[in-house]
């Protein structure tokens, strides 16, 4: 057993970070705040070229990696506030549902079945929409290859996340069932969403610590005061615990043998073992991202409450992600039956 980030994974993360900093720096992203399209085709294709959507596809179409690698990559995307339907496009690519998804030539959205009101992200940019429901054995997925037009929907003029445009639909066509992938879609979609959240939690921690070191009051850096130190320490605890949960769940997704031995130990089915790990990871990652964004704003004081400082973007994106693939409240209630 060696449950550390491997040298290859570290390198993968560094590569993604460098690519994102070069192609999708925050100031360039922020120039599109409030726009109907926040990420251009070129930038999306750059993500595709780097392998963001094809990581787990076997070679030569993809890179042949596992979910343990994918969560490392998505943590970096969360850190950098990369917008767009990252998770939906990854899932569509992983099942070969839409031509060009793996290469970042098209965008595919994902929505939970039965969500009300029906708010679809990035609607005009979507070449397809996945609708997933349930968890474990009961999970199902449907696919809309024709997405309702933006004209048929009402654009939300004040979306919570300035980098995630939203459209309100009165109803949603049922779409076609996608066989045999429901469990995997929910599993991987939850994991990747949780990984994005860990990225947000880690980034807001870094921003808070950096600010606590440079901001002086009463003649000292505010990070020398225990009241501030303890906020930062708690942020680290949350992000490390959540990251451990996400990475462990990803390892389970990759390794049926480990799942089988855990299942034997706990008397649960393999699907239950994975569901428990994935749902727990999503709960903790959602909470870490939200709590750390709030804590970082507190450490920044008044500046943290300004539009200019990007902490609100992390808070808002985390709030949005917490509503996908099950809320912490839904997931923790469901989890209680799997202990």
């Amino acid at each position: 057993m060696d449950f550390r980030i491997s040298a290859d994974q570290r390198q993968l993360a560094d590569g993604i970070r460098a690519m994102v900093q070069g192609r999708l720096p925050l100031d360039r992203l922020r120039a599109h705040e409030g726009a109907a399209t926040v990420i251009g085709a070129d930038e999306w294709a750059a993500l595709g070229e780097t392998g963001v959507f094809s990581l787990t596809l076997p070679e030569p179409d993809g890179i042949g990696l596992g979910m343990a690698d994918a969560v490392v990559v998505f943590e970096e995307l969360g850190r950098a506030l990369v917008p767009g339907p990252l998770v939906g496009t990854f899932l569509a690519a992983s099942a070969g549902l839409v031509e060009g998804a793996a290469d970042g030539l098209v965008q595919v959205g994902v929505l939970s079945a039965g969500s009300d009101p029906i708010l679809v992200e990035h609607l005009p940019d979507l070449a397809g929409l996945l609708v997933v429901s349930g968890f474990a054995r009961g999970a199902t997925a449907r696919f809309l290859s024709t997405v309702p037009s933006a004209e048929s929907a009402t654009r939300i003029l004040a979306p919570l996340d300035p980098l995630t445009p939203l459209w309100h639909l009165a109803s949603l066509p049922a779409g076609e069932p996608v066989r045999d992938v429901g469990f995997r879609f929910v599993r991987d979609g939850s994991l990747l969403t949780a990984a994005l959240q860990v990225g947000h939690a880690a980034e807001t921690l870094d921003l808070a610590v950096a600010y606590a070191k440079e901001r002086h009051q009463f003649g000292k850096p505010i990070g020398s005061f225990q009241a501030v130190k303890h906020i930062c320490a708690d942020m680290l605890v949350r992000s490390e615990v959540a990251r451990s949960a996400v990475q462990a769940a990803a390892c389970l997704a990759d390794d049926p043998d480990v799942v089988a031995s855990e299942a034997q130990l706990s008397g649960h089915t393999a699907e239950q073992v994975i569901s428990r790990a994935v749902m727990g990871a999503k709960v903790l990652a959602d909470e870490a991202a939200l709590a750390n964004a709030r804590a970082a704003i507190q450490v920044h004081g008044g500046m943290g409450y300004t539009w200019e400082v990007p902490l609100h973007l992390h808070l808002k994106r985390s709030r949005l992600l917490a509503t996908t693939f099950g809320t912490p409240a839904q997931l923790s209630a469901a989890l209680s039956t799997l202990l």
Binding site: F3, R4, K213, K220, S224, L236, G280, P328
Partner: protein, 393 residues
């Protein structure tokens, strides 16, 4: 990232599991919680069985007579022992987890020869005299004085939180031999039958008596019992801490997971699971304990590769202690009036409620944010040593 154990690790687990399966049923019934002489006999017998089977000192290096197991094997050992409900280190945890490793690292050959084997064989029990009434989190301010008199130190002062002092043979004690602060401290081995030691038991809020205060009046300790140089005791103590491999709380964590499982079953029996708030709190604790088990594996993996568990120890303790307390609080709510009884009670269905165990755990959990570094001290450590925030006192 790989959670898969190697074939050698799996073999270690299988052999241990087999041994536990045949050995545990032969143990006598566990003695009453506060019968320390009986508990010493029980725990020493267990230690002797471990020794004979080659499992004594799993976490000791082989040059100290231990098994020299890898951190991963140490994790497996603790996991299997906890799952099989085997006795924990018990009354000699100071000898096995602290004094022994210190003597291995810093003792001279005579001291290693004299003290190590009796710990591994379950023949000698150790206690610890570090904290003082006025030196807790600020341990380096300790004032128990040792004055050199020929071949002896004459020690005067008092110590507190000394576990199992009444049944201990030796005490690892920190004394002041020099200037104030951490540069004037010396590490000594104090035989507990030395004249001048008065032991006064302390009663905890759980009613238990594992702790004691020591009052030392001109206790004479041979200079030969000094481990390390005079005034170098602080460094000696810190060296011991570096032996921690990230497995310190494995038993407690698995116990908490078991208690949560029992609590969930109890809530179902009591028809409480239609309370969505309760469901969520139970599910949330399950997520947290699972995550902490994953964090343990990461810390141990880190220790296996680098020799130190990395940043994980304080992070783990901060999170675990808080969640263990939340579990205790939740159990009290679920048990409702049954939590008023420390005696075992039966439910309306005639099945035991397990109230006494949950109550005991609730008490225990309250100490988790205090013992072995308060959560406030742990947060300072995390903020200063991991996050690099400025240290200003």
């Amino acid at each position: 990232m790989d959670l898969r154990y190697t074939p050698a690790e799996e073999q270690f687990r299988d052999e241990l599991r087999t041994w536990l399966g045949t050995t545990l049923p032969t143990l006598p019934a566990a003695p009453a919680a506060d019968n320390w002489p009986e508990r010493r006999r029980f725990d020493s017998n267990w230690q002797r069985l471990l020794f004979e089977a080659g499992y004594a000192g799993v976490d000791w290096p082989s040059e100290g007579g231990g098994r020299g197991s890898s951190p991963i094997e140490q994790l497996i050992f603790k996991e299997e022992c906890a799952r099989a409900d085997a006795p924990y280190v018990g009354v000699n945890f100071v000898g096995l987890l602290h004094a022994g490793p210190t003597i291995i690292a810093e003792g001279n050959p005579t001291q290693r020869e004299r003290y190590l084997a009796p710990i591994l064989r379950g023949e000698e029990v150790w206690c610890q005299g570090f904290s003082e009434p006025d030196a807790g989190s600020d341990l380096a301010s300790l004032r128990t004085k040792a004055v050199r008199d020929g071949d002896e130190y004459v020690v005067t002062g008092s110590k507190i939180w000394t576990s199992h002092a009444e049944v201990a043979d030796q005490c690892e004690i920190l004394v002041r031999t020099g200037a104030e602060g951490n540069k004037g401290i010396t590490w000594l081995i104090m035989p507990m039958d030395s004249p001048g030691i008065e032991i006064r038991p302390l009663r905890t809020i759980a009613g238990s008596t594992e702790f004691a205060e020591l009052f030392l009046n001109d206790v004479r300790i041979p200079v030969a019992n000094r481990v390390g140089e005079e005034n170098d005791g602080w460094r000696v103590t810190m060296v011991t801490l570096s032996f921690e491999r990230g497995t310190a709380f494995v038993g407690d964590l698995l116990e908490s997971m078991g208690l949560l499982h029992s609590l969930r079953q109890l809530a179902s029996r009591l028809d409480l699971m239609d309370d969505s708030g309760l469901e969520r709190r139970i599910g949330h604790l399950g997520a947290a304990f699972d995550a902490l088990w994953a964090l343990t594996k990461r810390n141990v993996s880190e220790a296996a590769q680098t020799g130190i568990p990395g940043i994980g120890g304080s992070v783990f303790k901060l999170s675990f202690s808080e969640h263990a307390q939340a579990l205790g609080d939740l159990a009290m709510e679920v048990l409702d009036r049954a939590a008023l009884s420390g005696d075992p009670l039966l439910g309306a269905d005639g099945v035991a409620l397990g109230n006494e165990e949950q109550l005991h755990n609730w008490f225990k959990s309250i100490n988790l944010t205090i013992a072995a570094g308060t959560s406030q001290v742990q947060r300072n450590i995390v903020a200063e040593r991991i996050l690099g925030l400025p240290r200003v006192r």
